[in-house]
């Protein structure tokens, strides 16, 4: 008897459930579905959740009506709507879904048997409880930052089971209060088990479907958006990662993803910013966020979701941005972080899961681009290098000055003029011998000395030169044309502008596995130029060859001295 009764209730419940699953499946194919799984929880999204699951509740009641005409045993699947509504929409939505379902239950039943009996009220109360309870679970999980658990079917089934038990308890309680304990007991004995099973399994299955749909939806749309962005940015950063290209990329990403704001930084500065708060996030300013610096330092993603970990703008208290996803941009070739990309959402909006996935895709994409750009840049630089070196080798200005100087002194000091011609030919002979990329420090210094002999003849007592480089360092390798252009600049833009004697000092300091060549002048007239001077070229060339630890730095004490330090590794001693 019990078995037959169980099946009698179970079979229609399973039918209802299948109808719900079908409806839910159709629903996941509509555009409103994305709002439902975004966690973004703005008002319209909540309204949609409310409407959809209230509808489920009402359907649950309607489906069960036919059986009620003949029997009071009201097995139904109203709980599925209430539980899912609460879990997805939070306490308020859950409560409202429950109340709506409950009221509908009372109204629709009251037309069948007047007056309203205790079971109608009990059912309304129980449904409201179900919605509210599930809503509270949502609230609790989101505070704990475990919102992902909501989408676990097993968890949803468990919640449905728990609220189902609550439902049973409420009906029994109402029965006791109404003095109709026996009726309530016999009713529950008959329908409690099938309802518990059907509602738990139904809710779990629907959530399973939602999760699967959401996953493919996330991947599809983030993939699609990433492709669109890839397409639009393709031509921009090919080659250089700088402020201008970053600005365009940030704007495209912000438009495509519709996040609150997008920022791109290099290791030290904000390169570009697009979206909310653009008034005080100024490109070119140093990075202010501790999190960003941490991302760069530790090469890992930081996600300040605005709940567990809040994001507060350091530049402006009233900044509306409340959550941030910070992803490192990696140059895999050198295994270093070259910058970050940051996606922001304002305080009143939660971070869309899809955008998190998208952000990671984007960082990957941009990292790849930077890498491609890096190689392109290297190739370009190598060509420019060759060109610059060629120019320096020919150096018509220097040749002109040298010949003029020799012309001036030929009559008066013919022997000296002959010597100078010797130095000049030595200088150009060494230029010709630079088919290799590197030479020894000793050879480079001889080259510089030939050059300086001619400049000394031109300026006479207005130029003094001191070269102090330890003997044992002369065998180390340096890229060709590293020293001579810097010495030439020190004279051209430095000492030649002095009224008194100019002094050029070339020194070398040895470190553990590197050494520093220093060219110092006593003019102190160095001005940071924005153009690509030969000094910058030499710096880039050293960095490409030996890495970012090496290169050139310039110190200047205005009208006192300028020091150009050339840092080079000691590892490769040339065979001489």
């Amino acid at each position: 008897m019990q078995d037959i009764l169980f099946l009698e209730h179970m079979i229609p419940l399973l039918q209802h459930m299948l109808v719900f699953l079908g409806l839910a499946y159709l629903f996941t194919k509509t555009p409103v579905f994305t709002a439902l799984v975004d966690n973004s929880l703005t008002f319209p999204d909540k309204a949609i959740i409310y409407l959809v699951f209230s509808g489920f509740c009402i359907l649950g009641t309607i489906f069960s009506e036919p059986s009620m005409l003949t029997d009071d045993a009201i097995a139904n699947t109203r709980a599925i709507g209430a539980v899912l509504g609460g879990l997805l929409g939070g306490p308020v939505v859950g409560f409202l879904v429950g109340v709506t379902g409950g009221i509908h239950r009372v109204i629709s039943m009251s037309s069948i048997h007047d007056p309203i009996n205790f079971i109608d009220l009990a059912c309304a109360a129980a449904t409201t409880f179900e919605g509210l309870f599930a809503g509270c679970v949502h609230y609790y999980l989101s505070r704990k930052g475990k919102i992902e658990t909501l989408f676990s079917p097993r968890f949803v089934g468990l919640v449905a089971l728990v609220v189902g038990l609550g439902h049973v308890a409420i009906i029994l309680l109402f029965g006791m209060l109404a003095g109709e304990w026996a009726v309530a007991w016999s009713l529950e004995k008959e329908i409690a088990l099938p309802m518990l099973i059907a509602n738990a399994v139904g809710a779990a299955l629907i959530m399973y479907m939602i999760r699967e749909q959401k996953k493919s939806c996330d991947e599809l749309s983030s993939g699609a958006a990433a492709w669109r962005i890839a397409d639009k940015t393709a031509s921009i950063i090919y080659g250089h990662f700088n402020q201008e290209s970053s600005r365009k990329i940030a704007e495209i990403i912000q438009q495509e993803t519709r996040v609150g704001a997008v920022a791109i930084t290099d290791r030290n500065r904000l390169l570009a910013f697009a979206g909310l708060g653009v008034d005080h996030h100024r490109p070119g300013s140093p990075i202010s966020s501790e999190d960003t610096l941490k991302v760069i330092r530790e090469n890992k993603v930081i996600f300040a979701d605005g709940i567990r970990k809040t994001y507060q703008c350091r530049l402006k208290k009233s900044c509306t941005l409340g959550s941030a996803l910070i992803i490192p941009l990696r140059d895999d070739a050198n295994n270093e972080v070259v910058g970050t990309i940051k996606l922001y959402e304002p305080k009143n909006k939660l971070f869309r899961k899809i955008n998190r996935k998208l952000g990671e895709n984007l960082a990957h994409l941009l990292s790849g681009r930077i890498l491609a750009g890096h190689y392109e840049l290297q190739r370009e630089l190598r060509i420019q290098d060759q060109y610059k070196i060629l120019m320096a080798q020919i150096n018509p200005h220097f040749l002109y000055n040298a010949l003029t100087t020799i012309g001036h002194i030929t009559g008066k000091q013919p022997d000296r003029a002959r010597n100078l011609l010797h130095y000049l030919s030595d200088y150009f002979r060494k230029n010709l011998k630079t088919s290799d990329d590197t030479t020894t420090l000793g050879y480079e210094l001889e080259h510089v000395e030939s050059y300086l002999e001619i400049e000394k003849a031109r300026f006479e007592d207005r130029l003094q030169v001191h070269i102090e480089v330890p003997e044992h360092l002369l065998a180390y390798s340096v890229p060709v044309f590293t020293l001579q252009p810097i010495v030439e600049n020190a004279i051209k833009h430095g000492t030649s502008e002095l009224l008194d004697a100019g002094i050029i000092k070339i020194t070398c300091v040895e470190h553990h596995d590197s050494f520093t060549l220093t060219v110092e002048d006593n003019a102190g007239l160095y001005k940071k130029s924005t153009t690509n001077g030969i000094g910058l070229k030499i710096d880039e060339r050293i960095k490409i060859r030996y890495g970012n630890l090496y290169g050139i730095d310039i110190q200047c004490e205005h009208e006192q001295w300028t020091r150009v330090n050339i840092h080079l590794p000691k590892n490769n001693k040339e065979q001489t």
Binding site: Y400, N401, L403, T404, T405, G407, H408, I409, G411, K412, A457, R458, F459, E460, D461, R462, S496, E497, L498, L499
Partner: protein, 239 residues
Amino acid sequence: MIRTMIVDDEPNAREDLEKKISADPEFDIIGTCANAFEAIRDINSKQPDVVFLDIDMPKISGIEMLSMLDKDSMPRIVFVTAHGEYAIEAFKKNAIDFLLKPVKSERLDITLTRLKENHQPQPVVTETFPTNLTFVPCYQGERYYLINIKEIIHAFSNPITGVHLVTGDSGQEEYQTNLPLKVFDDNSPLKRCHRQHMINPDYIKYIEKLDNGLGQIYTYGNHTIPVSRNFMDNFPSIA
């Protein structure tokens, strides 16, 4: 004899030119200078007829130097340059002579012949060369300085020590310069208030009118500078 000076920062270039010019007995080299600071001083004191002037020199170029010379006693200028790009067209238009380094004897002879026919000063045309002073070469003891004209509060000449420039917020810095006050009259915003005094109008706090048509300028640094009767018209606010 044509009294000639050579100004060039390269010693060998200077010597070479000196040797070539002095081969002509009509030219008397009365001095050579290595930069514009020395040149201004020597031109003012020696008043040469002709100056061979290098353009590319430290701190003050030959062209800038022109605005620092008194128009009334300006010598005839022959530019000497290693850089053909220096406004050759402008030189041609104003018939100011120029020589390209290295100077060839044949080309120099043409210039020398021309100078022998006429070595009167040529007016320096303002459209060709900017004549507004932006920096003023001056010195304190042995050290040379370039002072921005805007920083100068007050300039005055002393019959023995020459022209002095006063700068600094409260007028505490004092430099000497080889530029005569006349040059400031012509080429700077400084205003003459006395035969021996000039004032930068930006630093005038107020002007007090005294008896017998004299006046007194008070600067923001609370220095007082006399205004003589003849120059009262330069300051319409009290005239």
